[in-house]
């Protein structure tokens, strides 16, 4: 049934002292999809994320999750509802062990988090589940490592594992592959595809390879409003999108493709900037 949207926004608006960052966005995320949010810098992607997770208060518009209006709910409430985000910077508990990191996330379900008289052994019950999660992101061997000591890519993986621990229906990933070398990018791509199994994922990504590789649908934002929507092939062909975002290179993904800067318009762009002297 086509009408099964897990997340819908209607006329979502965010203004910062007059400046409109998000301008009447109607976003429809279909259940079970990997939905990519792309667009030029400053288009309003991160702001959208912040609105959906209530790290920012919408100026206008409403957000519906599974048909329920969550526009006015508090961040931790949203998290408990099953919308969990990952941060643009990696968010882990650096001096806890990898296992503990995941356990923290699991612990809430136990409901003993205020029990200061209980022994922490009562938490060992969670270890199996935690190990499962770590295995699913390929960290099982690092379980006892102190988190700081892990390389960047692995930290991202751990962060995703922690996020999974909350068993979110909807995961929001902001530039998950940012600042990664090629191997890491691949690892994370695989990871995302894997965890997308029985849940929905909404992600912001500038790396076209990734977008093209794993997203079912993508929405292009520009200047705060939706420019285009649809499957990659379709959107990538859209001249508006090419002009506003992809540029001439994006149409293919080989390393040794046509080099940037050979497109027509840039010349003028620079000549007038150079005109100064």
């Amino acid at each position: 049934m086509a009408e099964d949207f897990i997340l819908e926004t209607a006329g979502l608006v965010k203004e910062f002292r007059g400046f409109v960052a998000v301008n009447g966005v109607d976003l429809k995320v279909r259940r079970g999809h990997i939905h990519a949010l792309i667009g030029p810098n400053g288009a309003g992607k991160t702001t959208c994320f912040n609105l959906l997770t209530k790290f920012l208060e919408p100026t206008r518009g409403e957000i519906r999750f599974n048909g329920i209006d969550i526009t006015r709910e508090a961040p931790e409430k949203i998290a408990r509802r099953g919308i969990v985000r990952s941060f643009q910077i990696s968010a882990v508990f650096p001096h806890l062990s990898v296992l503990e990191n995941v356990r923290i996330a699991l612990q809430r379900t136990l409901g003993t988090s205020f029990h200061f008289w209980k022994s922490e052994r009562s938490l060992d019950a969670l270890n199996d589940r935690a190990m499962e999660l770590l295995t699913s992101v390929g960290l099982e061997t690092h379980a006892d490592m102190v988190t700081v000591e892990m390389p960047y890519g692995r930290k991202r993986a751990l962060e995703i594992a922690t996020t999974l621990a909350l068993d979110p229906e909807l995961m929001l990933l902001d530039e998950p592959t940012q600042g990664m070398g090629h191997e890491d990018v691949h690892r994370v791509m695989e990871l995302i595809r894997k965890v997308s199994a029985n849940r929905t994922i909404l992600m912001v990504e500038h790396n076209m390879k990734v977008v093209a590789g794993i997203s079912d649908t993508l929405t292009v934002l520009a200047r705060g409003s939706v420019l285009a929507e649809g499957p990659y092939a379709e959107v990538a062909a859209n001249p508006l999108v090419i002009e506003a975002y992809m540029g001439t290179e994006a149409s293919d993904d080989h390393p040794s493709g046509p080099l940037p800067g050979e497109g027509g318009d840039q010349g003028s762009l620079l000549s007038n900037s150079g005109g100064g002297r």
């Binding site: 910062f16 643009q88 890519g153 530039e175 600042g179 800067g261 762009l269």
Partner: protein, 235 residues
């Protein structure tokens, strides 16, 4: 371009506290040349840039900048010799507005770009000129970090992952800007993950592994040294 040597880094070792990160970097850059440091995460490229400016912990070896030994100078003295640094983590000041960020770095040389030129290059910045630095979007911050050092008239630019988190169109534009700067005889060191961005711009590329230069590839050798790139970078 003039063939005079502008920067010579020889046997550079750098440390973060206990950990020994650079193990004898060696490379030279000519005036007006653009070189690029490629390598895996953690190879030591950022550290190289920071070491040139004296931002790492202990460092040994020699760094000749325009014929002067700077290894023992404090960062601000080195910068005043005409070095501009665009850090990996962007380093935008939260307590300053976009424009204040732009105007902060003092002049360290003549012939920097004017404010109007910069705003033409990055229209977003003009639009957001009065909003707080860290309130800018990830990409806008990246542009700001780049623009900031174009103003100061620094002749040696150290650019760390400048194409990071930028929309493809902007990346293209950035490419053009770098070209433009080369024409103006700026000397540039690019640290990049994004090979496709660096390849066409760099006159020479150095591949860094474990804090050492392991390969040097000139612009015209890219095609035949493809296999090297494969094995070192997985490109």
């Amino acid at each position: 371009m003039s063939a005079t040597e502008f920067l010579r880094v020889s046997d550079l070792h750098a440390f973060y506290g206990e950990s020994h990160v650079l193990h004898g970097m060696d490379f030279t850059v000519r005036r007006g040349e653009c070189i690029s440091l490629l390598g895996r995460n953690g190879a030591g490229r950022t550290t190289t840039l920071r070491a040139i400016l004296g931002l790492t912990g202990r460092r040994t070896g020699s760094i000749m900048l325009n014929g002067r030994e700077v290894i023992n100078m404090p960062p601000h003295r080195i910068a005043q010799l005409g070095v501009g640094y665009c850090p990996e983590e962007r380093g935008i000041y939260a307590s300053l507005s976009c424009e204040e960020n732009l105007l902060l770095p003092p002049q360290v040389g003549s012939g920097g770009l004017g404010l109007d030129e910069i705003y033409e290059m990055f229209p977003n910045l003009e639009e957001r000129r009065n909003s707080q630095g860290t309130r800018l979007s990830g990409g806008e911050q990246q542009m700001l970090a780049m623009a900031r050092i174009l103003r100061t008239g620094a002749r040696l630019l150290l650019l760390d992952e400048v194409s990071e988190g930028l929309a493809p169109v902007i990346v293209q534009k950035l490419g053009e800007i770098v070209r433009k700067l080369k024409q103006r005889d700026y000397t540039i060191i690019l640290v990049e993950q994004n090979f496709r961005f660096a390849a066409p711009l760099a006159d020479r590329m150095f591949i860094v592994e474990h804090g050492q230069v392991v390969e040097q590839i000139a612009q015209n050798e890219i095609k035949e040294k493809q296999h090297l790139l494969q094995e070192y970078l997985g490109v």
